[in-house]
């Protein structure tokens, strides 16, 4: 990661005469999590988890925007879980934007692919920073070279990546977590060169009329690890395999309806498997004569990956990474107040069609003044069957309050 950043800075050096504009910003957040239930496993924090986040935001670009430098470091200091106290370079790159419709980005960056809301199957470039939240929407910066070609027949993105980022997991004190702690210091890589191995990816995206679509392919180290049980230490070892994945994301937009679909095929973790998520988002504007908009969402999640253990050289190992979304139905609602404070609320529930496990969440957000936001989030894990992957987190319902100051 560091090397990429230096490369980016070195690239800027040949252009010292270019007049550019600097922009400095930052976010500072205080967060408090509250777990009403007693912990399930020894060592876990009891009820209160305070933490702080600092995320500076440094940008430089030339007036014609052809040269851009972005540096966004991130640090969280957590009062309970050592593993949640962590640093990351979320973004740290140089980008050249050519007039002729192409861009080259070098450095650590974030890239998002996809259309659906309840699960991001196709999105594979960045590692999830799962100590941040269980929704896998927080990502670690990925070192890369990314060439983007903008054409009137669509956008082509080509990626070459190295400097693999390990997934973050809660430590002994952390909640929610599995019964055994994930030993992030001793991951297993089935590829030579481990974190130095090369990943490649490509995506073509475009729209035709009311249809927006993306077709993607990835070949490299899976961001999702399998789990091996290390019997002597009673810990979980993450296992990172070489995979090849093809993805499709699709959206049809008509009036107030958005119809969405994502599908992948993956090879390299057990049998080749297919997974998909699809559904709709429908918005009722100005409900009940008010200024409020209500969005209604429903999606179905399917995942055909192997379950159960296989015996590897390093011990008993899950045949494929764990997923909650094997046969689940999601329903949600989004309420936008359309006020000057951008007040909004989200609520959703995911039901496992096999065993009726319920995952629920509610989120509310509002701006205070011009440079503060307040957020309240609740997550509930209800009714998990002992056979469900979510069984270990059955007592880990929690509420998060976050106050953020923007500079």
């Amino acid at each position: 990661m560091k090397r990429s950043l230096f490369a980016a800075l070195a690239l800027c050096a040949p252009f010292p005469a270019l007049a550019g504009e600097w922009d400095f910003g930052a976010e500072v957040a205080a967060e408090l999590r509250y777990f009403p239930n007693d912990p399930t496993f020894p060592g876990q924090l009891e009820h209160i988890q305070p933490s702080f986040v600092v995320q500076p935001d440094i940008r430089w670009e030339t007036e014609d925007r052809s040269h851009q430098v972005v540096v966004i470091p991130f640090v969280r200091v957590d009062g309970q879980d050592e593993e949640r106290t962590h640093f990351d370079l979320r973004e740290g790159y140089y980008r050249y934007n050519a007039d002729a419709g192409w861009s080259l980005m070098l450095g650590a960056a974030k890239v998002f692919w996809g259309k659906t809301e309840s699960r991001h199957l196709v999105d594979i470039i960045n590692q999830s920073d799962t100590v941040e939240d269980v929704d896998e929407e927080d990502k670690l910066g990925q070192p890369m070279a990314n060439l983007t070609l903008l054409n009137d027949w669509g956008t082509v993105d080509l990626f070459v990546m190295s400097g693999f980022r390990d997934r973050t997991f809660p430590g002994v004190d952390g909640r929610p977590r599995f019964g055994l702690v994930v030993d992030t210091d001793n991951p297993i890589f089935t590829r030579d060169w481990r974190r130095g191995a090369i990943d490649v990816a490509a995506r073509y995206s475009h729209y035709i009329g009311n249809w927006d679509f993306g077709v993607s392919v990835f070949h490299g180290t899976s961001r999702e690890p399998r789990f091996a049980i290390d019997i002597p230490t009673q810990r979980i070892l993450p296992v990172y395999d070489k995979i090849t994945q093809g993805g499709l994301d699709l959206q049809y937009t008509k009036d107030a309806w958005l119809w969405k679909l994502e599908a992948i095929v993956r090879e390299g973790q057990g049998d080749v498997f297919f997974a998909g998520v699809g559904g709709f988002e429908y918005t009722l504007y100005q409900i009940f004569g008010s200024g409020f908009d209500l969005g209604l969402l429903a999606e179905y999640q399917y995942d055909g990956r192997d379950e159960g253990f296989v015996i590897e050289d390093f011990g008993p190992t899950l045949a494929a990474p764990v997923t909650f979304a094997d046969n689940d139905v999601f329903a949600g609602a989004r309420l936008a107040f359309n006020d000057p404070q951008d007040t909004s609320m989200l609520a959703g529930v995911t039901v496992d069609a096999n065993d009726q496990f319920l995952g629920m969440f509610i989120e509310a957000e509002r701006r205070l003044g011009s440079s503060w936001t307040a957020e309240l989030e609740a997550r509930l894990f209800l009714n998990p069957d002992p056979g469900n992957a979510a069984f270990p987190i059955r007592n880990d319902d929690f509420i998060t309050f976050r106050l953020t100051r923007f500079f």
Binding site: E61, R65, Q68, N97, G101, S103, V111, F112, G114, K115, E117, S118, R119, D133, V134, D135, E136, E137, T148, L150, D152, T155, S205, Y207, D212, T253, D255, A256, W257, L258, T283, Y285, Q286, G291, D293, G295, F324, A325, F330, G332, R334, A336, N338, D339, P340, Q341, D342, S344, L346, T350, G359, F361, E363, E365, R367, S370, T373, T404, F406, F407
Partner: protein, 278 residues
Amino acid sequence: MLLHKNPFRAKTLTFAAMTALISASSALADDPAARGDTPESQKGYDISARSDRSDSGYGDSKVDARMVLRNRAGQETVRNFSFTTLEKETEDVGDKSLVVFQSPRDVEGTALLSHAKILDPDDQWLFLPALKRVKRISSSNKSGAFVGSEFAFEDFTITELNKFTYNYVGEEELDGMTMDVIERFPRYEKSGYTKQKSWVDQDIFQARKLEFYDRKGELLKTLILSDYREYDGVWRAHTLSMVNAQTGKQTDLVYDTYSFKNGLDANDFQQGILTRLR
């Protein structure tokens, strides 16, 4: 297992529309249904068409804008954004526009790309910078408030000639100028208005004042357009002040100096551009 927060979900309005207010992106071809068949409706149509056509040939434009929202107690909320617009290539399509929010800081970098259409709904994409996500959104919300302001989405299409039928009312003095007063009635569905009344000056043929009447036929809002400046034959109002007669709330939209003919082309308004704005 979360869905994205989407701060501009509902408020994403047709920004093409917003730029239409300043760029007059209407179909120039006469629409007989809009023109009507009485002398009053035809005169109203012709006056509106003249102010509309005074605007063609601007090419592309860039401008920074500041929106000040005031509630009845006088409390202010400020939003800043930049607009980039590309004039339509032919009369069969609308303008293309890009809006990037600069403040408040928590939505900085949020961008909206619009490809306006004449009869069909616009194509719109939203860029959410925290997630790096580009999302195609619905553009069917007409009468909702834009980012909590007194402007509704449909207010930004007030120069779209063929969206209305007209009625010429007469001449009236306003601010020392003689104005043509025209009533017009939305032809499109889901409008929050039954009628609008506009005052168009006889000197440079620009709208100076608009009144909006709600579904009950009562006065809802008044818009004053002022600080008109000329750029090479193209006129732009730089201050738009909308006052809600029923709530006392007010929103001022103030434009900085425009920059025209920046050499932009369709490449600068592709969906793929959104991830490299900043």
